[in-house]
C-alpha cells in the first residue's frame, strides 16, 4: 500500500527535513505517526498524499512507483486517498455540505447519492444542524469534523490524517478514531499523525516515530505510551 525506500526530502534549497525514511504500511494497516513539532510528520504525509515529490528515494503507493507514474495518472490515485489536512483547508465560500461533497463532485458522483451520503455523514459527526453554515461561522472543532468528513466521504482506499483531533474534545476524538477504525476494518489503510499520546495509547496500533526527520526504530504502541 505505502512503501518508502530511503526517502529524503527538502523544500526548495532549504535543509533536508526527512532523511533516509524507510517503512512499509501494508494494505489494510493502521499506523500512528508521532514525533515532536517540526519533526517532519506533515512532510511525510504530504509525500503520501502526493502533494510533494521526494527529493531522493522511492515512494510506492497503491501499487505504483510514484517516480515513474505519469502525471496524468496521479489524479486517479489521489481520488483513492482521503486527506485530513492539519490546517483543514475548507473552502470558505462553500457550505459545510458542499465542502464535504467536494471529493464526490470531483469524481462525478450523481447528486442524489451525494445528498444522501453527505447528509448521513454530517449527522454522524454531529453537524446535522450546521449543514448550510460556511466554515468561518463554525467553531474550530466543527471545522475539523468537516475536514474529516470530507476525507472519508468518497470511501478512499487510504486515509491520511494530519493531527485530526487537535481541536475536538477527547470524547469526540475517540468517536472520530472509531470512525477510522471502522473504515479500517472494511479494508481502508489508515495513517494518522498525532500529538495525542493518550489516543495512541488507547488504540493499540502500530506507531511510527519521527524525530528531526529520522524514523526511529519501532516499538509497540503500548510500550511507548
Amino acid at each position: 500500500m505505502i512503501r518508502f525506500d530511503n526517502v529524503g526530502m527538502r523544500y526548495g534549497d532549504g535543509p533536508e527535513v526527512l532523511h533516509d525514511v524507510t517503512f512499509e504500511l501494508e494494505s489494510g494497516g493502521f499506523a500512528f505517526l508521532t514525533g515532536p513539532s517540526g519533526a517532519g510528520k506533515s512532510t511525510l504525509l504530504k509525500l503520501v498524499y502526493l502533494a510533494e515529490r521526494p527529493t531522493r528515494g522511492l515512494v510506492h503507493l497503491l501499487g505504483h512507483d510514484i517516480a515513474t507514474t505519469p502525471r496524468r495518472r496521479l489524479p486517479e490515485l489521489r481520488r483513492r486517498i482521503g486527506v485530513v489536512f492539519q490546517d483543514f483547508r475548507l473552502v470558505d465560500h462553500l457550505s459545510a455540505f458542499d465542502n464535504v461533497a467536494l471529493p464526490l463532485r470531483v469524481a462525478g458522483a450523481p447528486e442524489t447519492r451525494i445528498r444522501e451520503e453527505v447528509t448521513e455523514l454530517l449527522h454522524w459527526v454531529g453537524l446535522g444542524d450546521h449543514m448550510d453554515a460556511r466554515p468561518p461561522a463554525l467553531s474550530g472543532g466543527q471545522q475539523q469534523r468537516i475536514a474529516i468528513a470530507r476525507a472519508v466521504i468518497a470511501r478512499p482506499k487510504l486515509i491520511v490524517a494530519d493531527e485530526p483531533t487537535g481541536n475536538v474534545d477527547d470524547k469526540m476524538a475517540f468517536r472520530l478514531m472509531r470512525l477510522f477504525e471502522e473504515l479500517n476494518r472494511h479494508g481502508t489503510t489508515v495513517l494518522v499523525a498525532t500529538h495525542n499520546d493518550a489516543l495512541v495509547a488507547r488504540f493499540g496500533h502500530r506507531r511510527l516515530r519521527l524525530e528531526a526527520g529520522e524514523l526511529m526504530p519501532e516499538r509497540s504502541a503500548r510500550q511507548s505510551a
Binding site: 502533494a51 481520488r79 486517498i81 483547508r89
Partner: protein, 280 residues
Amino acid sequence: MRRPAELLLDREGFLAWMIGLMVFLAALAIAAALAADGAAARWARSLAGTATVQVPADAANKLDALAAALRGVPGVRQARPIGLEETRALLEPWLGTELRDLPLPRLVDLELAPGADLAAIQKRAAEAVPGAVLDDHRGWADRLAGVATAIQAAAIVVVLLVAAAAALLIVFATRAGLEAQRSVVELLHLVGARDGWIARQVERQALLLALKGGTGGLFLAAAVIAATLWLSSGDRLRLLPQFEIAPAAWLSLVALPAAAGLVAMLTARIAVLRALRRLP
C-alpha cells in the same frame, strides 16, 4: 438556489465591474474611431466622385445645353448647371458682397461614376461650349484624401492602443481574482481533480463574468454613443459635428463583451494550468 461554484473568481464583483469599464472604454474608442473614419471616408468620397465644368462668363446662356450634353457622356451620373445666385453665394467668401456686377464664370456640377473617362468629358464640354474647362478637383481631393487617411490611421492606432490596454487590464484583473482562489485550486488538485476539470471551472467562470461585466459596459457605452448621435444629428444643438455609425459597424461593438470573455477565459485557463503544472 443554484449551488455555488467550487471556484469563485470574483467574490465581491470587482472583476466584473473592471471588465465592464474596460469594455465601456473600448466601445467608446471604437465608436469614435468608426465615426471619424466614416466622416473622413464620406468626405473623401464626396470629392472623389465630383467634378466641375467651368464656362466663361459670356457663355452663361449655353449652360443648360452643356449640362444636357454632358449627361450623355458615359460615366457622368448627373450634371447640374449652377445658377447665377448660387455661383455668387459660392464665391462670396472670396469676392465679398459688394462686387455683384462682376462678370462671373459659370459652373456645371458633375457627379461621376468611379473610373469615369475625364478626357471624354473634357472633349464633349469643349465641343458644346468653346472655352469650357473640366476641373476634377484633383489637387483638393488628393490633399483631403491624405487627411482622411491620416484620420483613419490615427483611429486604428487609438483603437489598437485602447484594445491592448483593455486586454492587458483584463489579464491582470483575472489573474488577481485567480490568485485569491489559489488555495482552492490546490485543494481541488489534491482531491483528485484533473487539470482540465479545474481549468474548465475557472475558464467558464471567467467567461461568464466577462460576458456579464462586458455586456453592462457595452450597454453603458451604447447609451453614451446614442446620446452623442442624437445630440449631433438634426437641428438639435448644432454643437457637435455630424456623427454617423454604419449599422454593420455597431456589430463590431457587440463583439466586445465576447472578446473580453475570450481574453478573461484564456487568461484564467493559462494561469491555472501553469499553476497546476508546478504541483506534482
